[in-house]
Amino acid sequence: MAGYILKRLLSAIPVMLGITVIVFLIMAMIPGDPATAILGSYATPENVEKLNRDLGLDKPLVQRYFIWLGNMLTGDFGRSFSLNRPVLDEIAERFSATLILAGTAFVLCSILGILAGAISAARQYSLADKAITFVVLIGISVPSFFLGMMMILLFAVNLRWLPVSGMYAIYGGGDLPDLIAHLAMPALALAAVATGVIARLSRSAMLEVLRQDYIRTARAKGVPERRVVYGHALRAAMVSVIPVLGIQAGFVLSGAVYIEMVFQWPGVGRMLVDAILKRDILLVQGGVVFVSACYVLFNIAVDVAQSLLDPRIRT
């Protein structure tokens, strides 16, 4: 097992390098003189030149890449000019907020999605199946940002159950119940689409598995139907569901950008949007690389989970 994890970690290195190359190349597409583009046309020539030097833009492309990469490896992601603080500090702070939001949503969508899919398959064509299918259809069609806004109207404005936005109450907040109250709506809104996708997939995976010979064997042994479905079949279905959880984690992370905007959540997504609007390229660059790298690591964790479930792929 340790060998497998090590192997997967090593295989992540080229992927991470690839990510840095792609981000670097995209940033190299900035039309015109980047420093001017960043500082705006009213910048003084000295400022432009200084920024060019800071960014290493006076050097050739390949050399620039390696300098940038080397700096990042030593923990130097540069300095955000709009916030006037090190990029990495800002990212670390913002990313923890995103992690709380996206992590909760991911757990929610995994549990709810798999459960809904399994029930739906176990009672195919029943009222429960139809109801779930209908809710899932709505879930995957409604834009998360719109769903979030509607939730605010209902739960925060009309019913006054939950706070409208933010991560903590400004006065007297800061404890766990306060966080949960603030987290409930954004996490649910963020989880909706992924829940739908996972539920659909779980349903079809279950239906596929329920036709397998080993399910017939379980029945022939006299295993009670409930256990056949929620034990044998569900476990086997997870083999095709888990990789999709990894993909959906990417969508949850992506959706977090919208949800953070809607709910004023102080996460990395909102930071990125602000940075783009302010043309704070170093902050964008650092944020994208950092979050993508975390996502790659997360996917390794998914692979490891998969290998724990399925002995056939442990090598």
Binding site: I22, M29, A122, V142, F146, S204, K221, G250, F251, I276
Partner: protein
Amino acid sequence: MSAFLKLLFRNRLAAIGAVVLGLILALVLVAPLLPLPDPDATATSERFARPFSEGHILGTDHLGRDLAARLVHGTRVSLAIGLFAALAAAVLGSAIGIAAGYFGGRTDNVIMRAIDMLMAFPYILLALAIVAALGPGLRNALIAVAAVNIPFFARNIRGITVGLAGREFVDAARLAGMGHTRIILSEILPNVLPVIVIGISTTVGWMILETAGLSFLGLGSQPPQADLGSMLGEARAALITAPHTSVVPGLMIFLIVMSINLLGDGVRDALDPRLKSGALARPRATTRVDRRGPVPEEPAKGLLDLQRLETQFHVGKRVYKAVNDVSLHVKPGECLGLIGESGSGKSVTALSVMGLVASPPGAITGGAVRHDGEDLLSLPYDALRRRRGEKVAYIFQDPLATLHPLYRIGEQMAEAIRVHHRISDREARARALELLRAVRIPNPESRLGNYPHEMSGGMRQRIGIAMALANDPEVLIADEPTTALDVTVQAQILALLDELRRERGLAILFITHDFGVVAQLCDRVAVMYAGRIVEQGPTEEILARPAHPYTARLIACVPELGEGKRELAAIPGLPPVVDSLPPGCAFAPRCDKAQEDCRKGAIDLAGTGTHDVRCLHPEVTP
């Protein structure tokens, strides 16, 4: 095509999707003709007018602009942008995919590596990076969304192209001296085009959503230009005071995406042939019993007694009579061989006993299955379940598919016992070890921790047998338990079964296509053809003097008993499909002795009661 459309519209949801989408498209197309105010005309005095107010059917936004006009206008922009992004991604992605798949080798390798890298990003980060570099704006948002979706197309299309590139017609074109471009355009592209179209139809909703999302963030369309996303984004500030300004564009995005999803699902279902046959229906816990006639009330002749059993498969309008009026019985300590070609209904007969025929599409439509005189088909589910594995146990063919791949052998064996008996972990383990020893598995302790894929075929088959014996059943139903094994292992397993029935007094129903195996193990044999028993009697007698021409041919196929690989293919012709049985003898088309009368009416199973045959002109009279 028309069949496809019919199928699509039989799906009510898909039809709803098509109608909604059609209405939206119509609205957008006739927009210039509608008496709508200028979408950009501001009127600060009329800010946030409610819907259905004077002159503004949907109200106005924060600048007093008419929402209905902006909605129609924004929908148009969003649809156009989404569609355009989908087309751009499809064209570029497919081109990349075709190039990778067609040229293969290094090109393929390099391209696919790059694609993998792109897919390692959470997609929005990539889109954000592109927008960051190019600057906010509708065109750049479109580029970002299209670029992010290129890998999806590249991957799918490459997969199909790889398959095509190796096919004969491509080789032929190459040999004919056609250039790469021509081959790609004339041979490859037409074949991948349907997949590209399906890809577009499944992603276009997504792309509309994504461009709307970027606009919502303020990174897409810039004022005064508006799409649905930016309308929603601008309305957000006034969410609480004027919710209608948010609801109107939000609902529109929802309707568009949902109708496209519904239509896309419908298209996929219509194209997926598995769905047509109903094969993806969930099989019930037991086979459906739907007896058309009365339950036979004859006294049971054996411990297990099948009486005039009928099992059918209902697929669409077709009815496959897999098991047709089959009567069999097995006594304790006896082994009955049930022999026939694949498709003869022998396995379905075996599975019908404990209600294990997948249902739908299977259903037991007549007869009775008596165990100890009691009709199993009349039992409620739980009573039947308690007899499964406890009284009547199965050994299946191909234990790699029939053992659960994700549970250890020990767990699967313990479970077989524990679903019927309350015992501790330790007792279960001890019992499992004992069973593994009984079937002569070396190092049973270490085997308990193994997974099925870690064992050889012979070992797995022994596990299957051990598991069947877990609760000391009275009846064992073995469905071709030795087919996948080599001759030595096969002989060992047969010897093992023989020993078990002598020692434990097991009644064995042994399903096989191999007379050599029958000769080694079975006291009596029943021959099945096209769902019916055509001959039955004591093994020795049948081997020595087969009465039915089919039986005679089966026996002739066995080169030498107990040796070599035996195939039934040596009989010319194929068994009939059991949904269109000819009147009279089903074997007639393949039979040398067939005469006029054979094809007339039903033929009865006749004989002495110990040796019976269903034939008008038997080889010998039993």
